[in-house]
Protein backbone atom coordinates (compact mmCIF):
# COMPACT_ATOMS: atom_id res chain seq x y z
CA UNK A 1 0.00 0.00 0.00
CA UNK A 2 0.94 3.61 -0.30
CA UNK A 3 1.43 4.08 3.39
CA UNK A 4 3.92 1.23 3.45
CA UNK A 5 6.14 2.86 0.90
CA UNK A 6 9.62 2.95 2.32
CA UNK A 7 11.10 6.25 3.27
CA UNK A 8 14.11 5.59 1.10
CA UNK A 9 11.79 5.24 -1.84
CA UNK A 10 10.16 8.47 -0.99
CA UNK A 11 13.40 10.35 -0.50
CA UNK A 12 14.67 8.93 -3.76
CA UNK A 13 11.61 9.95 -5.71
CA UNK A 14 11.79 13.26 -3.98
CA UNK A 15 15.31 13.90 -5.06
CA UNK A 16 15.35 12.13 -8.39
CA UNK A 17 16.93 14.43 -10.89
CA UNK A 18 17.04 17.13 -8.31
CA UNK A 19 20.59 18.30 -7.76
CA UNK A 20 19.46 21.26 -5.69
CA UNK A 21 17.83 20.67 -2.36
CA UNK A 22 15.20 23.25 -1.71
CA UNK A 23 12.77 24.14 1.04
CA UNK A 24 10.06 21.93 -0.42
CA UNK A 25 12.30 18.92 -0.16
CA UNK A 26 13.07 19.68 3.45
CA UNK A 27 9.39 20.06 4.17
CA UNK A 28 8.72 16.72 2.57
CA UNK A 29 11.53 15.18 4.64
CA UNK A 30 9.91 16.59 7.73
CA UNK A 31 6.75 14.67 6.97
CA UNK A 32 8.71 11.51 6.34
CA UNK A 33 10.37 11.70 9.73
CA UNK A 34 7.14 12.43 11.52
CA UNK A 35 5.59 9.32 10.00
CA UNK A 36 8.26 7.23 11.72
CA UNK A 37 7.19 8.74 15.08
CA UNK A 38 10.44 10.67 15.37
CA UNK A 39 8.24 13.45 16.76
CA UNK A 40 7.68 17.04 15.75
CA UNK A 41 10.32 18.51 18.04
CA UNK A 42 13.16 16.19 17.05
CA UNK A 43 12.14 16.40 13.42
CA UNK A 44 12.29 20.17 13.47
CA UNK A 45 15.71 20.01 15.13
CA UNK A 46 16.99 17.52 12.58
CA UNK A 47 15.72 19.56 9.68
CA UNK A 48 17.27 22.71 11.13
CA UNK A 49 20.63 20.99 11.39
CA UNK A 50 20.34 19.81 7.80
CA UNK A 51 19.43 23.31 6.68
CA UNK A 52 22.55 24.70 8.32
CA UNK A 53 24.72 22.10 6.64
CA UNK A 54 22.96 22.89 3.42
CA UNK A 55 23.82 26.56 3.79
CA UNK A 56 27.43 25.64 4.39
CA UNK A 57 27.26 23.75 1.11
CA UNK A 58 28.10 20.47 2.81
CA UNK A 59 25.23 18.61 1.19
CA UNK A 60 25.47 18.48 -2.57
CA UNK A 61 22.83 15.94 -3.54
CA UNK A 62 20.24 13.47 -2.37
CA UNK A 63 22.73 10.86 -1.29
CA UNK A 64 24.66 13.30 0.83
CA UNK A 65 21.43 14.49 2.37
CA UNK A 66 20.29 10.99 3.18
CA UNK A 67 23.61 10.05 4.71
CA UNK A 68 23.70 13.22 6.77
CA UNK A 69 20.19 12.64 8.04
CA UNK A 70 20.99 9.08 9.08
CA UNK A 71 24.12 10.28 10.81
CA UNK A 72 22.24 12.97 12.71
CA UNK A 73 19.69 10.45 13.92
CA UNK A 74 22.33 7.92 14.92
CA UNK A 75 24.15 10.63 16.86
CA UNK A 76 21.09 11.09 18.99
CA UNK A 77 20.97 7.48 20.05
CA UNK A 78 23.01 7.10 23.21
CA UNK A 79 25.53 4.37 22.57
CA UNK A 80 27.10 1.93 24.95
CA UNK A 81 30.02 -0.36 24.22
CA UNK A 82 28.27 -3.60 25.07
CA UNK A 83 25.16 -5.28 26.41
CA UNK A 84 24.53 -5.67 30.11
CA UNK A 85 27.57 -6.75 32.05
CA UNK A 86 25.95 -9.09 34.53
CA UNK A 87 29.30 -10.29 35.80
CA UNK A 88 29.65 -6.99 37.62
CA UNK A 89 27.63 -8.18 40.61
CA UNK A 90 26.18 -11.33 42.09
CA UNK A 91 23.27 -11.46 42.12
CA UNK A 92 22.98 -8.93 39.31
CA UNK A 93 19.56 -7.39 39.91
CA UNK A 94 17.46 -6.10 37.02
CA UNK A 95 14.24 -4.19 37.69
CA UNK A 96 11.83 -3.99 34.76
CA UNK A 97 9.25 -1.19 34.61
CA UNK A 98 6.89 0.50 32.18
CA UNK A 99 3.30 1.30 31.31
CA UNK A 100 0.64 -1.36 30.78
CA UNK A 101 1.04 -4.02 28.15
CA UNK A 102 4.34 -2.92 26.63
CA UNK A 103 6.05 -6.29 27.08
CA UNK A 104 7.75 -6.26 30.47
CA UNK A 105 6.96 -9.83 31.49
CA UNK A 106 7.76 -11.23 28.05
CA UNK A 107 11.09 -9.37 27.95
CA UNK A 108 11.99 -10.82 31.35
CA UNK A 109 11.28 -14.30 29.98
CA UNK A 110 13.49 -13.66 26.97
CA UNK A 111 16.33 -12.16 29.05
CA UNK A 112 16.13 -15.09 31.43
CA UNK A 113 16.42 -17.45 28.49
CA UNK A 114 19.62 -15.75 27.33
CA UNK A 115 21.17 -15.91 30.79
CA UNK A 116 20.18 -19.54 31.18
CA UNK A 117 21.80 -20.31 27.83
CA UNK A 118 24.95 -18.69 29.17
CA UNK A 119 24.77 -21.11 32.08
CA UNK A 120 23.65 -18.60 34.68
CA UNK A 121 21.43 -19.34 37.64
CA UNK A 122 18.42 -17.08 37.23
CA UNK A 123 15.65 -16.11 39.62
CA UNK A 124 12.45 -14.33 38.58
CA UNK A 125 10.32 -12.23 40.92
CA UNK A 126 6.60 -11.90 40.20
CA UNK A 127 6.32 -8.29 41.31
CA UNK A 128 3.04 -7.83 39.44
CA UNK A 129 0.54 -8.88 42.08
CA UNK A 130 -2.25 -6.83 40.54
CA UNK A 131 -3.06 -7.99 37.02
CA UNK A 132 -5.05 -11.16 36.63
CA UNK A 133 -2.73 -14.15 36.02
CA UNK A 134 0.41 -12.00 35.89
CA UNK A 135 2.26 -14.37 38.22
CA UNK A 136 1.03 -17.42 36.29
CA UNK A 137 2.34 -15.82 33.11
CA UNK A 138 5.78 -15.35 34.64
CA UNK A 139 5.73 -18.89 36.06
CA UNK A 140 5.15 -20.29 32.58
CA UNK A 141 8.14 -18.32 31.36
CA UNK A 142 10.13 -19.64 34.32
CA UNK A 143 9.27 -23.22 33.36
CA UNK A 144 10.08 -22.54 29.73
CA UNK A 145 13.57 -21.29 30.44
CA UNK A 146 14.42 -23.16 33.60
CA UNK A 147 14.33 -20.40 36.15
CA UNK A 148 12.73 -20.40 39.57
CA UNK A 149 10.03 -17.88 40.36
CA UNK A 150 9.29 -16.12 43.64
CA UNK A 151 5.62 -15.24 43.87
CA UNK A 152 3.01 -14.26 46.38
CA UNK A 153 -0.77 -14.35 46.20
CA UNK A 154 -2.66 -11.97 43.94
CA UNK A 155 -3.16 -8.65 45.67
CA UNK A 156 -0.06 -9.05 47.88
CA UNK A 157 2.36 -6.18 48.48
CA UNK A 158 4.82 -6.14 45.55
CA UNK A 159 7.64 -4.86 47.72
CA UNK A 160 7.22 -7.92 49.90
CA UNK A 161 7.75 -10.03 46.77
CA UNK A 162 10.87 -8.01 45.98
CA UNK A 163 12.09 -8.48 49.53
CA UNK A 164 11.65 -12.26 49.42
CA UNK A 165 13.19 -12.47 45.98
CA UNK A 166 16.30 -10.58 47.09
CA UNK A 167 16.70 -12.86 50.11
CA UNK A 168 16.18 -15.94 47.95
CA UNK A 169 18.62 -14.80 45.28
CA UNK A 170 21.31 -14.31 47.93
CA UNK A 171 20.55 -17.55 49.74
CA UNK A 172 20.45 -19.63 46.57
CA UNK A 173 23.53 -18.05 45.06
CA UNK A 174 21.78 -16.82 41.93
CA UNK A 175 23.71 -14.97 39.24
CA UNK A 176 20.79 -12.86 38.05
CA UNK A 177 17.56 -11.69 39.64
CA UNK A 178 14.94 -10.29 37.26
CA UNK A 179 12.12 -8.40 38.95
CA UNK A 180 8.83 -7.97 37.10
CA UNK A 181 6.49 -5.15 38.05
CA UNK A 182 2.87 -4.38 37.25
CA UNK A 183 2.21 -2.11 34.31
CA UNK A 184 1.44 1.39 35.51
CA UNK A 185 0.70 4.63 33.77
CA UNK A 186 3.40 7.15 34.68
CA UNK A 187 0.78 9.73 35.68
CA UNK A 188 -0.61 7.61 38.54
CA UNK A 189 1.05 9.01 41.62
CA UNK A 190 0.15 6.19 44.00
CA UNK A 191 1.40 3.50 41.62
CA UNK A 192 4.63 5.38 41.05
CA UNK A 193 5.06 5.59 44.84
CA UNK A 194 4.50 1.85 45.03
CA UNK A 195 7.29 1.37 42.49
CA UNK A 196 9.64 3.63 44.45
CA UNK A 197 8.99 1.48 47.49
CA UNK A 198 9.88 -1.68 45.56
CA UNK A 199 13.12 0.01 44.57
CA UNK A 200 13.91 1.06 48.11
CA UNK A 201 13.44 -2.48 49.36
CA UNK A 202 15.80 -3.82 46.70
CA UNK A 203 18.40 -1.14 47.52
CA UNK A 204 18.22 -2.02 51.18
CA UNK A 205 18.44 -5.78 50.75
CA UNK A 206 21.24 -5.88 48.19
CA UNK A 207 23.62 -2.93 48.33
CA UNK A 208 24.21 -1.48 44.86
CA UNK A 209 21.05 -3.08 43.47
CA UNK A 210 19.14 -2.75 41.25
CA UNK A 211 22.16 -2.77 38.99
CA UNK A 212 19.99 -2.06 35.99
CA UNK A 213 16.52 -0.53 35.77
CA UNK A 214 15.02 -1.13 32.37
CA UNK A 215 12.16 0.96 31.05
CA UNK A 216 10.21 -0.96 28.42
CA UNK A 217 8.73 1.02 25.52
CA UNK A 218 6.36 -0.30 22.85
CA UNK A 219 7.54 0.55 19.32
CA UNK A 220 3.98 1.48 18.35
CA UNK A 221 3.87 4.24 20.95
CA UNK A 222 3.87 7.82 19.75
CA UNK A 223 4.69 11.05 21.55
CA UNK A 224 3.53 9.75 24.91
CA UNK A 225 6.76 7.78 25.29
CA UNK A 226 8.52 11.04 26.16
CA UNK A 227 6.21 11.65 29.08
CA UNK A 228 6.63 8.01 30.13
CA UNK A 229 10.42 8.24 30.11
CA UNK A 230 10.42 11.55 31.91
CA UNK A 231 8.26 10.41 34.82
CA UNK A 232 9.68 6.90 35.11
CA UNK A 233 13.23 8.25 35.09
CA UNK A 234 12.38 10.74 37.77
CA UNK A 235 10.80 8.09 39.96
CA UNK A 236 13.05 5.10 39.40
CA UNK A 237 16.45 6.12 38.05
CA UNK A 238 16.03 4.27 34.78
CA UNK A 239 19.38 3.13 33.33
CA UNK A 240 18.34 1.61 30.01
CA UNK A 241 15.56 1.13 27.49
CA UNK A 242 13.99 -1.90 25.86
CA UNK A 243 12.08 -1.31 22.64
CA UNK A 244 9.54 -4.07 22.00
CA UNK A 245 7.32 -5.17 19.12
CA UNK A 246 9.69 -4.03 16.39
CA UNK A 247 8.54 -7.05 14.38
CA UNK A 248 5.38 -5.14 13.44
CA UNK A 249 5.14 -2.19 11.08
CA UNK A 250 5.89 0.45 13.73
CA UNK A 251 9.37 1.93 13.43
CA UNK A 252 9.77 3.01 17.04
CA UNK A 253 11.18 6.39 16.01
CA UNK A 254 10.18 7.96 19.31
CA UNK A 255 13.09 6.17 20.93
CA UNK A 256 15.41 8.61 19.16
CA UNK A 257 14.01 11.49 21.19
CA UNK A 258 13.77 9.46 24.37
CA UNK A 259 17.34 8.20 24.16
CA UNK A 260 18.67 11.67 23.38
CA UNK A 261 16.63 13.70 25.84
CA UNK A 262 17.10 11.40 28.81
CA UNK A 263 20.59 10.07 27.97
CA UNK A 264 19.40 6.48 27.99
CA UNK A 265 20.84 3.68 25.86
CA UNK A 266 18.56 1.19 24.18
CA UNK A 267 19.73 -2.12 25.61
CA UNK A 268 17.63 -4.60 23.68
CA UNK A 269 14.86 -4.76 21.14
CA UNK A 270 11.95 -7.20 21.09
CA UNK A 271 11.18 -8.73 17.70
CA UNK A 272 8.50 -11.27 18.48
CA UNK A 273 6.69 -13.18 21.19
CA UNK A 274 9.01 -16.18 21.25
CA UNK A 275 11.75 -16.95 23.71
CA UNK A 276 14.52 -16.12 21.25
CA UNK A 277 13.03 -12.87 19.97
CA UNK A 278 15.33 -10.47 21.82
CA UNK A 279 18.23 -8.73 20.09
CA UNK A 280 20.91 -6.36 21.12
CA UNK A 281 20.20 -2.91 19.79
CA UNK A 282 22.18 -1.93 16.70
CA UNK A 283 21.78 1.81 16.12
CA UNK A 284 22.90 1.60 12.50
CA UNK A 285 20.48 -1.19 11.69
CA UNK A 286 17.69 0.58 13.51
CA UNK A 287 18.21 3.82 11.59
CA UNK A 288 18.45 1.94 8.30
CA UNK A 289 15.13 0.29 9.07
CA UNK A 290 13.52 3.69 9.58
CA UNK A 291 14.58 4.63 6.06
Amino acid sequence: TKTHESIVGRIDSLLLGQKQIDADVLEELEEILITADIGVKTTVELIRTLEQRLKRNELKDGNALKAALKQEITNRLVQVESGLDIIAAKPFVILVIGVNGVGKTTTIGKLAAQYRLAGKKVLLAAGDTFRAAAAEQLEIWGERVGAEVVRHKEGADPSAVAFDACKAALARGCDVLLIDTAGRLHTKVNLMEEMKKIRRVIEREIPGAPHETLLVLDAATGQNAISQASLFKEAAQVTGLILTKLDGTAKGGIVVAVSHEFSLPVRYIGVGEGVEDLREFEPQEFVDAIF
Partner: protein, 307 residues
Protein backbone atom coordinates in the same frame (compact mmCIF):
# COMPACT_ATOMS: atom_id res chain seq x y z
CA UNK B 1 4.72 24.57 30.36
CA UNK B 2 3.44 24.86 26.81
CA UNK B 3 1.27 27.62 25.45
CA UNK B 4 -2.11 26.27 24.63
CA UNK B 5 -3.16 26.19 21.04
CA UNK B 6 -5.62 28.99 21.64
CA UNK B 7 -2.87 31.22 23.12
CA UNK B 8 -0.83 30.64 20.01
CA UNK B 9 -3.79 31.37 17.78
CA UNK B 10 -4.54 34.54 19.72
CA UNK B 11 -1.07 35.83 18.95
CA UNK B 12 -1.36 34.86 15.30
CA UNK B 13 -4.53 36.90 15.03
CA UNK B 14 -3.51 39.86 17.17
CA UNK B 15 -3.49 42.08 14.12
CA UNK B 16 -6.78 40.85 12.80
CA UNK B 17 -9.03 42.20 15.53
CA UNK B 18 -11.71 44.41 14.08
CA UNK B 19 -10.83 43.45 10.54
CA UNK B 20 -13.85 41.25 10.19
CA UNK B 21 -13.01 38.58 7.65
CA UNK B 22 -10.34 35.91 7.86
CA UNK B 23 -7.92 35.94 4.96
CA UNK B 24 -5.80 33.32 3.26
CA UNK B 25 -2.68 34.73 4.93
CA UNK B 26 -3.67 34.85 8.56
CA UNK B 27 -5.52 31.57 8.32
CA UNK B 28 -2.40 29.96 6.90
CA UNK B 29 -0.36 30.98 9.91
CA UNK B 30 -3.03 29.79 12.29
CA UNK B 31 -3.35 26.46 10.57
CA UNK B 32 0.37 25.89 10.94
CA UNK B 33 -0.19 25.93 14.70
CA UNK B 34 -3.19 23.63 14.41
CA UNK B 35 -1.16 21.23 12.32
CA UNK B 36 1.59 21.07 14.92
CA UNK B 37 -0.90 20.52 17.73
CA UNK B 38 -2.46 17.61 15.87
CA UNK B 39 0.88 16.02 14.99
CA UNK B 40 2.00 16.33 18.59
CA UNK B 41 -1.19 14.54 19.58
CA UNK B 42 -0.16 11.61 17.31
CA UNK B 43 -2.75 12.19 14.61
CA UNK B 44 -1.40 10.65 11.43
CA UNK B 45 0.25 13.23 9.16
CA UNK B 46 -1.82 12.34 6.10
CA UNK B 47 -4.98 12.62 8.12
CA UNK B 48 -3.74 15.97 9.41
CA UNK B 49 -2.98 17.16 5.91
CA UNK B 50 -6.46 16.40 4.57
CA UNK B 51 -8.02 17.84 7.65
CA UNK B 52 -6.09 21.12 7.46
CA UNK B 53 -7.17 21.48 3.84
CA UNK B 54 -10.81 21.17 4.83
CA UNK B 55 -10.47 23.66 7.63
CA UNK B 56 -8.72 26.11 5.35
CA UNK B 57 -11.61 26.04 2.94
CA UNK B 58 -14.06 26.61 5.77
CA UNK B 59 -12.08 29.34 7.48
CA UNK B 60 -11.01 31.63 4.64
CA UNK B 61 -13.63 34.27 4.16
CA UNK B 62 -15.44 33.48 7.37
CA UNK B 63 -16.79 36.47 9.21
CA UNK B 64 -15.43 36.74 12.73
CA UNK B 65 -18.34 36.53 15.13
CA UNK B 66 -18.85 39.48 17.44
CA UNK B 67 -18.54 37.32 20.51
CA UNK B 68 -15.31 35.58 19.50
CA UNK B 69 -11.77 36.64 18.85
CA UNK B 70 -10.40 35.41 15.51
CA UNK B 71 -8.25 32.85 17.34
CA UNK B 72 -11.28 31.48 19.10
CA UNK B 73 -13.11 31.45 15.82
CA UNK B 74 -10.46 29.21 14.23
CA UNK B 75 -10.47 26.97 17.27
CA UNK B 76 -14.23 26.68 16.94
CA UNK B 77 -14.00 25.69 13.29
CA UNK B 78 -11.22 23.20 14.04
CA UNK B 79 -13.11 21.81 16.99
CA UNK B 80 -16.38 21.42 15.12
CA UNK B 81 -14.68 19.79 12.14
CA UNK B 82 -12.78 17.38 14.39
CA UNK B 83 -15.95 16.41 16.22
CA UNK B 84 -17.60 15.80 12.85
CA UNK B 85 -14.63 13.71 11.73
CA UNK B 86 -14.83 11.68 14.97
CA UNK B 87 -18.46 10.97 14.24
CA UNK B 88 -19.90 13.24 16.91
CA UNK B 89 -23.66 12.78 17.11
CA UNK B 90 -23.51 9.48 15.20
CA UNK B 91 -24.90 6.39 16.84
CA UNK B 92 -22.01 4.56 18.46
CA UNK B 93 -23.90 2.11 20.60
CA UNK B 94 -23.32 -1.63 20.42
CA UNK B 95 -25.53 -3.39 17.91
CA UNK B 96 -26.87 -6.40 19.73
CA UNK B 97 -30.24 -6.48 18.02
CA UNK B 98 -30.13 -10.01 16.69
CA UNK B 99 -31.35 -13.42 17.65
CA UNK B 100 -29.49 -14.42 20.79
CA UNK B 101 -26.83 -15.45 21.47
CA UNK B 102 -25.21 -12.38 19.94
CA UNK B 103 -21.45 -12.54 19.47
CA UNK B 104 -18.83 -9.86 20.05
CA UNK B 105 -15.23 -10.44 19.00
CA UNK B 106 -12.25 -8.45 20.32
CA UNK B 107 -9.21 -8.02 18.11
CA UNK B 108 -6.04 -5.94 18.08
CA UNK B 109 -2.30 -5.68 18.57
CA UNK B 110 -0.45 -7.38 21.45
CA UNK B 111 -1.05 -5.75 24.81
CA UNK B 112 -3.68 -3.29 23.60
CA UNK B 113 -6.14 -4.25 26.33
CA UNK B 114 -8.40 -6.84 24.68
CA UNK B 115 -8.70 -9.29 27.56
CA UNK B 116 -9.30 -6.53 30.11
CA UNK B 117 -11.87 -4.92 27.80
CA UNK B 118 -13.66 -8.28 27.45
CA UNK B 119 -14.07 -8.32 31.21
CA UNK B 120 -15.21 -4.70 31.31
CA UNK B 121 -17.72 -5.21 28.55
CA UNK B 122 -19.11 -8.36 30.15
CA UNK B 123 -19.58 -6.45 33.40
CA UNK B 124 -21.35 -3.62 31.59
CA UNK B 125 -23.66 -6.00 29.72
CA UNK B 126 -24.43 -7.92 32.89
CA UNK B 127 -25.47 -4.65 34.54
CA UNK B 128 -27.86 -4.19 31.61
CA UNK B 129 -29.47 -7.52 32.55
CA UNK B 130 -27.84 -9.48 29.75
CA UNK B 131 -26.30 -12.88 30.33
CA UNK B 132 -22.80 -12.88 28.81
CA UNK B 133 -20.42 -15.80 28.30
CA UNK B 134 -16.70 -15.04 28.10
CA UNK B 135 -14.65 -17.13 25.68
CA UNK B 136 -10.85 -17.25 25.91
CA UNK B 137 -9.50 -17.98 22.43
CA UNK B 138 -5.90 -16.89 23.03
CA UNK B 139 -3.87 -20.08 23.21
CA UNK B 140 -0.54 -18.34 22.58
CA UNK B 141 0.16 -15.86 25.32
CA UNK B 142 1.23 -17.61 28.50
CA UNK B 143 -1.68 -17.71 30.98
CA UNK B 144 -4.03 -15.73 28.73
CA UNK B 145 -6.85 -18.21 29.34
CA UNK B 146 -6.22 -18.10 33.08
CA UNK B 147 -6.31 -14.28 32.93
CA UNK B 148 -9.83 -14.27 31.51
CA UNK B 149 -10.91 -17.00 33.92
CA UNK B 150 -9.80 -14.88 36.85
CA UNK B 151 -11.67 -11.86 35.49
CA UNK B 152 -14.78 -14.02 35.10
CA UNK B 153 -14.47 -15.18 38.71
CA UNK B 154 -14.16 -11.60 39.91
CA UNK B 155 -17.31 -10.69 37.98
CA UNK B 156 -19.26 -13.89 38.66
CA UNK B 157 -19.58 -14.31 34.91
CA UNK B 158 -19.07 -17.71 33.34
CA UNK B 159 -15.94 -18.28 31.28
CA UNK B 160 -15.97 -21.04 28.67
CA UNK B 161 -13.55 -23.79 29.63
CA UNK B 162 -10.93 -23.50 26.89
CA UNK B 163 -7.59 -25.28 26.94
CA UNK B 164 -4.36 -24.01 25.42
CA UNK B 165 -3.93 -27.20 23.37
CA UNK B 166 -7.18 -26.63 21.44
CA UNK B 167 -7.44 -24.76 18.15
CA UNK B 168 -8.85 -21.25 18.63
CA UNK B 169 -11.43 -21.82 15.90
CA UNK B 170 -12.61 -25.03 17.58
CA UNK B 171 -12.86 -23.27 20.92
CA UNK B 172 -15.05 -20.60 19.35
CA UNK B 173 -17.47 -22.87 17.55
CA UNK B 174 -17.83 -25.09 20.63
CA UNK B 175 -18.36 -22.05 22.81
CA UNK B 176 -21.07 -20.68 20.54
CA UNK B 177 -22.93 -23.99 20.60
CA UNK B 178 -22.56 -24.14 24.36
CA UNK B 179 -23.97 -20.61 24.66
CA UNK B 180 -26.96 -21.56 22.50
CA UNK B 181 -27.71 -24.61 24.64
CA UNK B 182 -27.15 -22.90 27.97
CA UNK B 183 -29.21 -19.78 27.53
CA UNK B 184 -26.52 -17.14 27.23
CA UNK B 185 -27.65 -14.12 25.21
CA UNK B 186 -24.22 -12.58 24.57
CA UNK B 187 -20.88 -14.22 23.81
CA UNK B 188 -17.64 -12.26 24.06
CA UNK B 189 -14.65 -13.76 22.28
CA UNK B 190 -11.17 -12.78 23.46
CA UNK B 191 -8.52 -13.34 20.79
CA UNK B 192 -4.74 -13.29 20.95
CA UNK B 193 -2.87 -10.11 20.11
CA UNK B 194 -1.35 -10.04 16.64
CA UNK B 195 0.22 -7.77 14.05
CA UNK B 196 -1.93 -6.91 11.06
CA UNK B 197 0.87 -8.17 8.78
CA UNK B 198 0.90 -11.63 10.35
CA UNK B 199 -0.90 -13.57 7.63
CA UNK B 200 -1.21 -16.79 9.54
CA UNK B 201 -2.79 -15.18 12.58
CA UNK B 202 -4.96 -12.84 10.52
CA UNK B 203 -6.29 -15.91 8.69
CA UNK B 204 -7.06 -17.42 12.03
CA UNK B 205 -9.18 -14.37 12.90
CA UNK B 206 -11.10 -14.73 9.64
CA UNK B 207 -11.83 -18.35 10.57
CA UNK B 208 -12.85 -17.35 14.07
CA UNK B 209 -15.20 -14.78 12.55
CA UNK B 210 -16.83 -17.55 10.56
CA UNK B 211 -17.18 -19.74 13.64
CA UNK B 212 -18.35 -17.02 16.01
CA UNK B 213 -20.64 -15.13 13.62
CA UNK B 214 -20.00 -11.86 15.47
CA UNK B 215 -22.44 -8.99 15.30
CA UNK B 216 -19.65 -6.73 16.55
CA UNK B 217 -15.93 -6.94 15.81
CA UNK B 218 -14.27 -4.44 18.09
CA UNK B 219 -10.76 -3.27 17.31
CA UNK B 220 -9.03 -2.54 20.59
CA UNK B 221 -6.47 0.25 20.29
CA UNK B 222 -4.06 1.71 22.82
CA UNK B 223 -4.55 5.48 23.18
CA UNK B 224 -0.77 5.90 23.24
CA UNK B 225 -0.34 4.58 19.68
CA UNK B 226 1.57 6.78 17.28
CA UNK B 227 1.57 7.24 13.51
CA UNK B 228 1.23 3.51 12.73
CA UNK B 229 -2.33 3.47 14.02
CA UNK B 230 -3.55 4.02 10.45
CA UNK B 231 -1.77 0.99 9.02
CA UNK B 232 -2.76 -1.27 11.87
CA UNK B 233 -6.41 -0.25 11.86
CA UNK B 234 -6.66 -0.38 8.08
CA UNK B 235 -5.05 -3.84 8.13
CA UNK B 236 -7.54 -5.25 10.64
CA UNK B 237 -10.47 -3.55 8.95
CA UNK B 238 -9.61 -4.70 5.43
CA UNK B 239 -9.20 -8.26 6.57
CA UNK B 240 -12.06 -8.54 9.01
CA UNK B 241 -14.44 -5.63 8.58
CA UNK B 242 -14.35 -4.24 12.09
CA UNK B 243 -17.55 -2.67 13.40
CA UNK B 244 -16.14 -0.39 16.06
CA UNK B 245 -13.20 0.64 18.20
CA UNK B 246 -12.37 0.48 21.90
CA UNK B 247 -9.78 3.10 22.85
CA UNK B 248 -7.90 1.96 25.96
CA UNK B 249 -5.56 3.53 28.52
CA UNK B 250 -7.05 6.99 28.20
CA UNK B 251 -6.58 7.38 31.94
CA UNK B 252 -3.01 8.53 31.33
CA UNK B 253 -1.79 11.69 29.64
CA UNK B 254 -1.80 10.45 26.06
CA UNK B 255 -3.73 12.77 23.78
CA UNK B 256 -5.27 9.89 21.91
CA UNK B 257 -4.88 11.37 18.43
CA UNK B 258 -4.60 7.82 17.12
CA UNK B 259 -8.37 7.60 17.46
CA UNK B 260 -8.75 10.31 14.84
CA UNK B 261 -6.46 8.42 12.50
CA UNK B 262 -8.34 5.18 13.02
CA UNK B 263 -11.70 6.82 12.42
CA UNK B 264 -10.39 8.60 9.36
CA UNK B 265 -9.08 5.45 7.67
CA UNK B 266 -11.75 2.95 8.67
CA UNK B 267 -14.81 5.15 9.10
CA UNK B 268 -15.75 2.94 12.05
CA UNK B 269 -16.93 4.60 15.25
CA UNK B 270 -15.13 4.53 18.56
CA UNK B 271 -17.69 2.89 20.83
CA UNK B 272 -15.96 2.74 24.21
CA UNK B 273 -12.98 4.18 26.01
CA UNK B 274 -10.95 2.39 28.69
CA UNK B 275 -10.11 4.60 31.64
CA UNK B 276 -8.30 2.29 34.00
CA UNK B 277 -7.26 -1.26 34.80
CA UNK B 278 -10.26 -2.00 36.98
CA UNK B 279 -13.26 -3.67 35.44
CA UNK B 280 -15.60 -0.73 35.91
CA UNK B 281 -13.29 1.63 34.01
CA UNK B 282 -15.14 1.55 30.69
CA UNK B 283 -17.15 4.44 29.33
CA UNK B 284 -19.17 5.21 26.27
CA UNK B 285 -17.17 7.34 23.83
CA UNK B 286 -17.81 11.07 23.51
CA UNK B 287 -16.31 12.68 20.42
CA UNK B 288 -16.30 16.20 21.88
CA UNK B 289 -14.34 15.12 24.97
CA UNK B 290 -11.65 13.47 22.90
CA UNK B 291 -11.39 16.48 20.62
CA UNK B 292 -10.99 18.83 23.59
CA UNK B 293 -8.29 16.53 24.89
CA UNK B 294 -6.45 16.49 21.57
CA UNK B 295 -6.62 20.26 21.30
CA UNK B 296 -5.70 20.54 24.97
CA UNK B 297 -8.28 23.16 25.69
CA UNK B 298 -11.27 22.03 27.68
CA UNK B 299 -11.95 25.40 29.27
CA UNK B 300 -11.65 27.51 26.19
CA UNK B 301 -14.10 25.29 24.42
CA UNK B 302 -16.80 25.59 27.02
CA UNK B 303 -16.55 29.35 26.52
CA UNK B 304 -16.77 28.96 22.79
CA UNK B 305 -19.68 26.57 23.01
CA UNK B 306 -21.66 29.36 24.60
CA UNK B 307 -20.82 31.86 21.88
Amino acid sequence: MFDTLSDKLESVFKKLRGQGVMTEDNVKEALREVRLALLEADVNFKVVKDFIERVREKAVGTLVLQSLSPGQQVVKIVHDELVALMGGGEDNSLDLAAKPPVSIMMVGLQGAGKTTSCGKLAKLLKSQRRKPLLVPADIYRPAAIEQLKILGRQLSIEVFDSQADQKPVDICSKALKYAQLSGFDTVIFDTAGRHQIDDYLMDELVQIREAAEPREILFVADAMTGQEAVNVAAGFDERLGITGVVLTKLDGDAKGGAALSIKAVTGKPVKFVGLGEKLDALEVFHADRLVSRILGMGDVLTLIEKA
